[in-house]
Point group: C2
Chain length 475, copies 2
C-alpha cells in the first residue's frame, strides 16, 4: 500500500489521490471534467443535499425545478450576465437530424431559465416573498484544469432564487441566507469567512456578492458558496413586477444563494490527513463501520454479532456498513480510514465475551462501546468526534492567516494574507499584483483572529477608511 | 369556478386542465415540452422518487450518477440502439465560442454513458452482480404533441442498469425488477399489466422487453415503465468482460429497468375525477389539509388549534398543510379537492368544543377524528382511503378490457382489446392495422380478468400456439 503524497508539500497531488483511492469519484469518463458519481460518492452527496435542504426549508424556501435548456433569446436579456457567461456555456444547436431555430444553452446557472416564469408567478405583493430553490446539475465549458468536486464541467448545484418586495427585504434575505449557511457549515465542520467581493469580482449581474472562502493547502483559498443581492438588475429586463398595496406597479428586488459539490471537495481538503479522507458524521457515507474479527473457535460468530449490532444501529437511522469481505482485519482498518468513516467498531471473540466492542474514531482515539448501551454510546462517540474534528479544523483555520503590512510582505506567503485596504479599486489591483492572486474582499463578519490595530492601506498609504481585507491565490 | 371537462368524453382536455389547475406543472416555459416543476409538483415528485428508491434499494441496488453528455463516439457503438435514438436526441456542438472536436449527445437514456465505465468496474466474477441505478433527467427531441408528465422533452427518469454473470442471472434480475415494480405500484394504487413486447416493438438493442401498461381514457393505454433483458448485446461492443472462477474471460449479461415522471401522469389520469386530482397517500404532496373555520366568538382559536394539530401530525412524519389563506372555507375545500389531498380536517368552534375534527377523505366519505387519538385515527383514515382508492381503480381496470374474437371486432372499441394471437409478426401487424394502434404483446402474468377459453388467432385462424395478447391505441 503506497503512501499518500504529503498533504502540506504536495497538496493537489494529495487531494487527487485521496478522492481517487477513497473511490469518491471516477474521472475516467469520456469527457474530461465530467466525472462519474460512484456509489460511495453518491452516499456522501445525498447527505450533503439533505443538510442543505433541511437548512433552507427551515427558512420557508420550497423546491422547484426548471428545465436544463435555456433559449438563447431568454439567455441574452441581462447584458452583464451574458457577458460573464458567454465564453463558458455549452450550446445545443441540433435536435434530431435538423438545426434548431433557436439555439439552446445548457444552464450554467438558472437566472435566465427562471425569471421569465417568475414574471408570470409574481403578480401582487401577496405573491411575495417568492423563495424557491433547486438542486440540479449545471454545465460550464471550463478551460482551466479540472479537479473532482472543485472544478468540473458538470456541477451538482444548489441555487436559491428569491423575489422580495423591496431592497431592504432583499438585504434581509441575504442575511437569512448567511445564517442558513452558518447552520449548514456546522454539519460540515468547516470554519469559513463570509467575504464581500470587490466590485470587479462580483457575480455577473449582481449588485453585490458575499462569498464563503476557506483556506486550503497553505496560501490558497477555495470559494465554497455565495449569496448575491441583485437589486432590480434582473427584474427590470425580465419584467418581474407586482402590484403594490397602493395599486402602483413595482419591480421586485432579487437575491440568490449558490452552493455546489465543491463543498464535498472542501470537506476532503480540510479534514483529510495522511491516512485519507475524514468525514464529519452528517456527511459520512457510513457513520460507522463494523469489522468482525474471525475466530477459529467460533466460526461465523463475530460476523453474526456484527450484523445484529448493525441492524440495531440502522433501526435508529444510523448509516452502518459491516465489512464482511475476505480481507484481513488490518486491511479493512486501512480501507475505512482511507474512506473517512468516523467510527470503527472492532468485534472479535474477546469483545463478544465482554459484550463491548472496541471503538476507534477517525481521529485515532480508542474507547469501548457496550452492547447494552450501543445506540447511546455510538451517538456519544459521534458527537464527540464531530466536536473534536471541528476544534481541529478551527485551530488550523486560525493558523492559516497572517497580516501583511506592506505590498512586499504579500509576496511568497504561505498563509492567506490579511491586509488593510482603503476600498479603492486601484489599490485593490496593486494588492492582487503583489500577491499574484486575488483580493477576496472585506469580511462580512468579524474575523475570528487576534488582529493588531489597523494601519494604513497597503496600496496607497492612506489611513482613512482602511478596513481589513483578505488576499490569496484562489485554488 | 368553471367545471372541468368531462373525463370520459374529453379525456385529454380533462387531464390537461387537472394538471394545470392543480398547479402540478407549469408549461409556459420558453421551450415547448420542457415544463417547470412547481413547488406542488415537486412535492409529489419527491414522494414518487422515495417510493422508487426504497423499493429498488431493498433489492441491493445502489445509486450512482453518470454525466448528462455522451461523446458521439461512445454513443454510436451499439448499432441497433443508435438507430433507435438517432432522430430524437439533442446535440451539443459548441463549447463557449468554438465548435467541439467531438460532438456530445444530451442523454436520451444512459446505456452509452455508463457502459464504457462498467467495462472498467467489472473485472472479476467477484464484481458481479453490478446493480446500480440513477435518478436523472433525460432528453428527447420529441416531435409528437407533448403533454405534461406523459410526453415531455426533458424527462425525470429512473434507470437501473445491471451486469450479471450469465443469461439465467439476468433473467432472475428481470423477475426481481418485476417484483420491485409490483411493490411500488401498490404505493401508487395503480393496477397494471406487465406485457412482453413483440419483437418489432422492443427497446432498441434489447433481447426482449417487458413493459407495464395501464388503460387510460377508454381504449387508450399508457406505458408506465419497462424492464429489459439485453443478453450480451451491449457488453460485446462495450467490452464488459470478467474473469470467471475457472479463469476464462466472459461477457456479462445485462438488464435495465426504466421508470419516469410519467407515473405521476398515470396517477392523475387513473385516480382523478370530476373534482380534480386524487393522490394516494404515499405520493400526495400533503396527506392532510387542515381547514380552520373562523368563529366571531373566538377569533384566532380555530387557527391556533389547527396549527397545534398540524404540529402533532408533523412530529409523526405526516405531510400536513394548514390553509390559513383568507378564502372562505368552501373555496378551500374546492381547492384542496382539486389538488387531490387524501384527507381534509375541518375545524370550527363546535369541533374544538367536541375535541374532534370533521374529516372528509378525497372519496367524499365523512367521519370524525378525535383530538386525543389524532395520530392513530388519521393513520387509520389514510390506510382506509388508500384501500378504497385501490379497490375503485381495480374495478375500473377490470372493466377496461374486452375480448375481440375477430379482426372486425377490433375496430372502434372503447376498451383495451384482448385477442388470441399465434405469435407471428404478420398476424401482429394485421391486428395493429385493424385496431389502428399497437399490439402491446403477451402478458407476463395471468390477466386478472375472467376470460373465455382461448380460440384461434384473430390474424390467421390457426389455433395452435395462440395466446392472449393485448391491443390498444397507446396514448
Amino acid at each position: 500500500m503506497v503512501e499518500l503524497p504529503d498533504k502540506r508539500a504536495k497538496f493537489i497531488d494529495w487531494y487527487l489521490e485521496v478522492v481517487d483511492r477513497a473511490d469518491l469519484s471516477d474521472k475516467r469518463y469520456g469527457v474530461k471534467g465530467m466525472n462519474v458519481w460512484t456509489t460511495y460518492g453518491m452516499r456522501a452527496r445525498r447527505n450533503l443535499d439533505a443538510v442543505m435542504v433541511r437548512a433552507i426549508e427551515a427558512t420557508g424556501s420550497e423546491a422547484v425545478e426548471f428545465p436544463a435548456l435555456i433559449p438563447e433569446t431568454d439567455f441574452a436579456k441581462e447584458k452583464e450576465h451574458i457577458k460573464g457567461f458567454d465564453a463558458q456555456v455549452y450550446w445545443v444547436t441540433k435536435g434530431g437530424l435538423s438545426d434548431l431555430d433557436v439555439r439552446l444553452v445548457l444552464r450554467p446557472t438558472s437566472e435566465t431559465a427562471m425569471y421569465p416564469t417568475f414574471a408570470l408567478w409574481v403578480r401582487s405583493h401577496k405573491d411575495l416573498p417568492l423563495n424557491v430553490y433547486q438542486i440540479v446539475n449545471t454545465f460550464r465549458y471550463e478551460t482551466k484544469t479540472t479537479r473532482p468536486f472543485v472544478r468540473v464541467r458538470e456541477i451538482h448545484f444548489f441555487e436559491e432564487h428569491t423575489c422580495q418586495v423591496d431592497e431592504a427585504a432583499a438585504t434581509a434575505r441575504v442575511r437569512s441566507n448567511l445564517a442558513a449557511f452558518r447552520a449548514m457549515a456546522e454539519a460540515f465542520a468547516l470554519p469559513y469567512v463570509p467575504i464581500r467581493r470587490p466590485e470587479w469580482d462580483k457575480f455577473a449581474g449582481a449588485h453585490y456578492s458575499v462569498a464563503f472562502d476557506i483556506p486550503v493547502g497553505g496560501a490558497r483559498t477555495l470559494q465554497i458558496g455565495s449569496v448575491h443581492h441583485y437589486r432590480q438588475n434582473f427584474s427590470v429586463p425580465y419584467a418581474i413586477r407586482y402590484e403594490a398595496a397602493d395599486g402602483s406597479q413595482e419591480y421586485v428586488h432579487q437575491t440568490t444563494f449558490g452552493l455546489s459539490e465543491r463543498l464535498l471537495g472542501a470537506i476532503v481538503a480540510v479534514h483529510g490527513d495522511a491516512k485519507g479522507a475524514v468525514f464529519p458524521s452528517a456527511i459520512a457515507p457510513f457513520e460507522v463501520v463494523i469489522v468482525p474479527i474471525p475466530s477459529a473457535d467460533a466460526p461465523g460468530a463475530a460476523e453474526r454479532t456484527a450484523s445484529e449490532l448493525a441492524d440495531r444501529l440502522r433501526a435508529g437511522g444510523r448509516r452502518v456498513h459491516v465489512d464482511l469481505s475476505e480481507d484481513r482485519p488490518g486491511a479493512k482498518y486501512y480501507r475505512w480510514e482511507l474512506k473517512g468513516v468516523p467510527l470503527r467498531l472492532e468485534l472479535g471473540k474477546r469483545e463478544a465475551e465482554a459484550r463491548s466492542a472496541s471503538a476507534v474514531d477517525r481521529l485515532g482515539r480508542r474507547t469501548r462501546v457496550s452492547f447494552d448501551r450501543l445506540e447511546a454510546e455510538v451517538a456519544e462517540r459521534l458527537v464527540e468526534f464531530d466536536r473534536a474534528l471541528t476544534e481541529k479544523a478551527t485551530a488550523e483555520f486560525r493558523a492559516s492567516f497572517s497580516v501583511a503590512r506592506t505590498l512586499e510582505e504579500l509576496a511568497g506567503s504561505e498563509r492567506v494574507r490579511v491586509v488593510a485596504w482603503c476600498g479603492q479599486e486601484a489599490c485593490g489591483h496593486r494588492i492582487e499584483t503583489a500577491i499574484d492572486g486575488a483580493l477576496l474582499g472585506t469580511p462580512e463578519e468579524e474575523l475570528p483572529l487576534e488582529l493588531p490595530t489597523i494601519g494604513a492601506c497597503v496600496g496607497c498609504g492612506t489611513s482613512e477608511g482602511a478596513r481589513w481585507a483578505l488576499a490569496a491565490q484562489p485554488l
